[in-house]
Amino acid sequence: MITFGRATLLLALALTVFGAGAFIYGGRRERPEWVAAGRRSVFALFGVLTVAMAIIEAAFARSDFSFALVASHSSTTTPRLYQLTSMWSSQEGSLLLWVWLLSGWSSLAMVVARRRAAALMPYAGATLLVFAAFFLGLSNFLANPMTALNPAPAQGTGLQPLLRYPAMAIHPPMLYSGYTLAIVPLAFAVSALISGRVDATWLRQTRRFALGSWLALTFGILLGARWSWSELGWGGYWAWDPVENAALLPWLTGTAALHSLMVQERRGTLRTWNVFLALTTGILAVIGTFLVRSGVLESIHAFGASTLGLPFVVFIALLIATAAGLVAWRREALRSEARLDSLFSREAVFILNNLVLVGMCLVIMWGTFFPLISEALTGKRASVGPPWFGRYTVPLAIALVLLSGIGPLLAWRGSEWRSVRRSFVVPAALALATALAAAFAPLPWSLRAFALFAVAAFTVAAVGQESLRAARARQRSTGRALPLAAFGLVARNRRRYGGFLVHAGFAVMLVGVAASSAFKHVTDARLGPGQSAKVGGYDVRYVRATATYNAEKLSLGAVLDVTRNGKHMWTLRPSRGYYPVADAARFGTLGRWFEGESTSEVGLRADPRRDVWTAVEPDLQPLQSMISGIDKRFPLAGPKIEPLFLQALTERYRLDPPKAAFRFIVSPMVMWVWIGGIGAVLGGLIAIWPAGVRRRVKSPATKPARTTVPVSA
């Protein structure tokens, strides 16, 4: 099976080379049969890579440790769901996942382009296949997932326990979908530049891919943040780690592109800018993958000893040079004559929003790559921390939220001053009221947080007001009840109202971020049973110790009683899970349980007002004599006797627990980060959802007024 798997990877690489050649030849010589052959190569590539994925997934499902990948990332004790998702916890598996997703989106792009943008297909297809060829080259020659292990071990290492969390099962495919979907607009932009067709056709054909990329990245980033908050023992959801930033960079330029392409569609301007954003977003997606895979920057996620850095650097350098060369070559064709009619226009706000987003991207990129910049300039590697990032990104985020509220209030080409004033009154009043309420609330002074609350109130009020105004107008024209009218309004203009929901969700999310960052209380304490600690107005008492075990892990934890003013509020149960290593002969029957990975199971109580978060780190020192004593006396204890010792150990911990180190956090409004994020994702889904088939097939000649789908933002 491994040999067959290797053959599929080689065949896939051959298909990319053939397909790219066919596309280029067919495009240059105007030979449609060669273009068709190229297109079929893309479909075949997806098919072949699906077989490769199936081979590996099947090996994980049946714990076939003759696959080195399975032996090093799964085990028979790994739960079934995580056996199936273990593939993308590895370098080899995640590269295959990357190229498989790319081949899938490329196939979809070919189907769409054949119908609507056949002229762009040859070079777009060739570009997509060049990307696939690069990743397949890595998979075939530097990180082959079909590597055999001979002899196969009886047991595998198992999936890193930190990754055994539902959100982490789908986080990598989401991020990689975001990255790979971003390659499609890049490919069509390249095709538009090569073929000289730099009108808005390439934008229209790739708008949904760009939105899909944004959507997948948003959801992927959210899942990662949620995992960090509820699974990792440090008590945060964002750390400005290079790999986190790597996902944020294409998200920022992708968001900018989604706005600026509307300006080109509407006004015919920003041609160069849109091409730049499409190319930059695609290149940043590859840079994101490079940051994770190369280990070039010190990161919690970085590989320790990867050999992929150099190929990535060469590939990225080629991409940048090609992109810059193509834009320079077509600079005359990209020039647009239309100018801004008014500063009080939606397109003016979109341009400002683009500047803020790209500015934010540059700041984060500078901070992320600062170790390399500093080393190049001074010879010393230095890095900047979260406060530095916050200094720049917080004001930019405030500006961004404000602009996302102003945009919907202004019309294209310009608005009359009277109408601007009327639209702004309610949102501005609400923003002022929010700022005053925050300033007089019993909260520590935080100008940034209060400013963010105010602009978020402005934005939510603005999109709410505009939606309500439009729903009422529809109610009057159709005679339907307001909710039905609103539903009909959204259904008829998904892009506009999906966008509104994204803006509101984003504002709400940043309110959660601001509140949970500025008004967080953290207490670290070392407690024994019966002892208490205070945090954020709560008393947390360590009631008793807990200890359990099963074949997968041993858990030592605590039952905590949370009270406020003497009144019982909640009971929390944080614990720490210890995952054994297989080598009992080396580490001992009990010792092996503490030589593997250990993870925090956070005790979390979440509601819309606050999250109460706890983690525990048991002190194992007092147990050490018991562990080493049993291991010394019973060195050959088998799996039948082991449970007796584990029973004795857990009993001992429960009855005579040593003091444990606790971290308690009371963080307000964290739940709004997730609520706002989910709102933004829902908005994106509404915006990307295709118009119904019934509406598309209706003839405009018969019912023009009802079949026209508005294209406003």
Binding site: A68, S72, H73, S89, S90, Q91, T147, A148, L149, N150, L159, Q160, L162, L232, G233, W234, G235, A239, D241, V292, E298, S299, I300, H301, A302, F303, G304, A305, S306, T307, G359, L362, V363, W366, G367, F370, P371, S374, K380, R381, A382, S383, V384, G385, P387, W388, R391, Y392, D524, R526, E597, S598, T599, S600, A615, E617, D619, Q621, A661, R663
Partner: protein
Amino acid sequence: MNRRTIRAGIALSLAVLLASALAWTSFTASSQAVAPSALARDGKAGHSYQLTGKVLAGYHRAGDVLLFRVRDRSGPSAQSVLVRYTGAVPDPFRAGREILVTVDRHGASWVGERDSLITKCPSKFAAAKQTT
């Protein structure tokens, strides 16, 4: 000079100003990344460093303080430095793991900045070469 040139000049000056501010603040706010052997040799009091290396066996807690020694990630140096650290300890922290921690000198010992300890995710380390 026409208005377009003036606008371009203003925009360019603003961009240069902002870029200079970005560069200046990043250099002044940064911590130098050093290996334990370099820290032991050249580390000075009053400076903040980002120490990166591997945790040695034998780390332990003394009350709220975690005491651990870090050696170079690779290379021949056997030199290690002792770090006294308080704050959140990442789950994957253990002997042999690569860590990053921001430290500064307090007397003879290196004190880790609260909550600055990062342990690299071991799942992401490249597997050793396997035989086919």
